[in-house]
Symmetry: C2
Subunit: 336 residues, 2 copies
DNA sequence: TTGTAGGCGTTATCAC
DNA sequence: GTGATAACGCCTACAA
């Protein structure tokens, strides 16, 4: 037996309109009405049916966040602050998690249909998908963590770190420590992130006039520990005198560290390791990981600021902001 | 300009009813109709409004999973398999993430209102909340990972490991290695999990006739790395000759390990560490963590089986199943 | 401040 | 196999 707003109205002696107003915290209700209606509401533990609510409602005043990969620790660490900032600005915050392999724009399009948010933040995204389908979205959006500049949509801004420069800094750090035989663990090169970071690596090698042979020194992998482990094993098999490795994500670096250990080598004495992202975990490893730390607080803060600005001032152009990274020296690297 | 099923009907020359049937993959539609309707649908990239859909729909054939804590790695590692199993059985799987501090039953009640699932799985739950509010839920539910036996609701089953026995095994392992000065890092004792596990610890101490003074040897903490770190510091300050520590979760153990290192001590030479849960991470640490591994594959499998059984055979009673754990020896423990 | 009534976009139940 | 139409539960003018 389902109970509706009508039942509440009948039992409280008021009309449905008044009940609706109370339940939506509208000011134009008498205290008397509010009290006696809430009494009945609480008695039945009644809640509005959100389908009916959103079906009828013109425009919600909400901002949606689509998170690709629930276990992504970089994203997870930014969500709390984002949620906070959004709510402090008077918007409702809706968070949707999707799988790594799901299509974020299908989700976004459905979302616009159903919940009519004022703007969307994408944590994790696939450029291919955006090129194909983003045009059907007409509300302000922000790509968080990777640049959307090349996509060139007027309603798609982005806040990211300079992937190429971050990777360059990582490799340069190793070169400065005297390493010459450096392996790179990265993503598959059809995605934009891995390719950009690899570019940065190559710049560093060139600057130091150190030869780099991708076929030997680059090993592609997915950004998870188990794959990082396997990839590192391949690298160890292939490179005789390897003394250092740069992994394009901290979790891959963790997998690599264990592979190094299992090959009877020590970190950093035999092999130095540098990661990327600077997730919390890296600081708690018994051998602290040297890593390129993305400034997640600042990325989160600016993402929300920019999105809300776009929502409230519709005429402005897309912004593509680059947030500086920092190299955090840990205990996983050593000068030769 | 929003486009609805009516627009599709008009442009395709069919009635809304037929369009609806096509969009829901109903069999009673001619191929001709299906083709020409889908053409228009694709042309506009049209999607049903799910608010209207679920408002009207009597009962969805879905199973919902409410996950408390998006970053909980134990839960995350079970979700993929659960989703699979659910869909293989012909149900739709809805996953909802809520914060550690949110009320899972508020969410569940709203869910029953809106989406009308056939059953709900709770990953992470608070017994207090269940005692107060579970009675307003009348569909089959399963508590995953902690026992619901004492709650005694006929529509609430559970699948869990024996928390008391797991903790006992952990401490007993340390005692067998010769440790006598053992610290315990656990949760706050108002929750059922921490109290139960502490019980198990005490049983082990008693069995070995080793004194245990909770005020000194037990340090409560939240189940995150940073708190594990702090809690371990407190323990180190308080216990002079501590040689081993059991942490009631792997992430707490990780924090503890780093605290031990920062105090100039080595693992396992100076202090042995045992964790709980057996998340993937523990196997990749350079010092593999000895841990009590919950059999997540089996827990996930049985949770779904039981829930679906309850859905399809309404008359049966609640089941409270206990899945055996395993102690996984790592490199973080050493015999004295 | 409160009540009334139309309609949001879909599905389900009828007829045909 | 297809079309018309009444709900679903709520919000929001507008009227009182």
């Amino acid at each position: 037996m389902k109970i509706t707003i009508k039942d509440i109205a009948r039992e409280s002696g008021y009309a449905v309109g008044t009940v609706s107003r109370v339940l939506n915290n509208r000011p134009d209700v008498s205290e008397t009405a509010r009290k006696s209606i809430m009494e009945v509401v609480n008695k039945y533990n009644f809640r509005l049916n959100s389908n009916a609510k959103h079906l009828k409602q013109q425009a919600g005043s909400s901002i949606a966040i689509i998170v690709k990969g629930a276990t992504n620790m970089l994203f997870a660490s930014m969500l709390g602050q984002m949620q906070n900032d959004i709510e402090n600005k008077g918007y409702e915050c809706l968070i949707y998690y999707i799988n790594e392999t799901d299509n974020e724009l299908e989700e976004a399009i459905q979302l616009c249909n159903d919940r009519k948010p004022m703007g969307i933040l994408f944590l994790g995204s696939n450029h291919q998908v955006f090129m194909q389908q983003f045009s059907s979205i007409d509300i302000p959006c922000v790509l968080v963590t990777n640049s959307g500049e090349s996509l060139n949509y007027s309603n798609l801004s982005s806040v990211s770190t300079d992937d190429s420069d971050g990777a360059r800094a990582a490799v340069e750090y190793l070169l400065e420590l005297g390493h010459r035989n450096i392996g790179i663990l990265g993503g598959y090169l059809d995605g934009p992130v891995a390719a950009t970071r690899l570019d940065g690596c190559i710049k560093a090698f060139n600057k130091y006039n150190v030869p780099f042979v991708p076929e030997i020194q680059y090993e592609p992998s997915m950004f998870v520990m188990s794959r990082g482990y396997k990839a590192m094993e391949n690298l160890l098999d292939r490179m005789d005198n390897i003394t250092a490795v740069f992994a394009m994500s901290d979790v891959m670096a963790m997998g690599a560290m264990r592979a190094i250990k299992d090959h009877g080598l020590r970190i950093p004495d035999d092999i130095s390791v540098v990661g990327y992202d600077g997730i919390e975990l890296t600081e708690y490893l018994v051998t602290k990981l040297t890593t390129i730390r993305q400034n997640r607080e600042e990325i989160a803060r600016r993402s929300i600021e920019i999105l809300i600005d776009k929502i409230e001032n519709t005429n402005s152009m897309a912004i593509h902001e680059v947030i500086p990274f920092r190299l955090i020296p840990g205990e996983s690297t050593k000068s030769l």
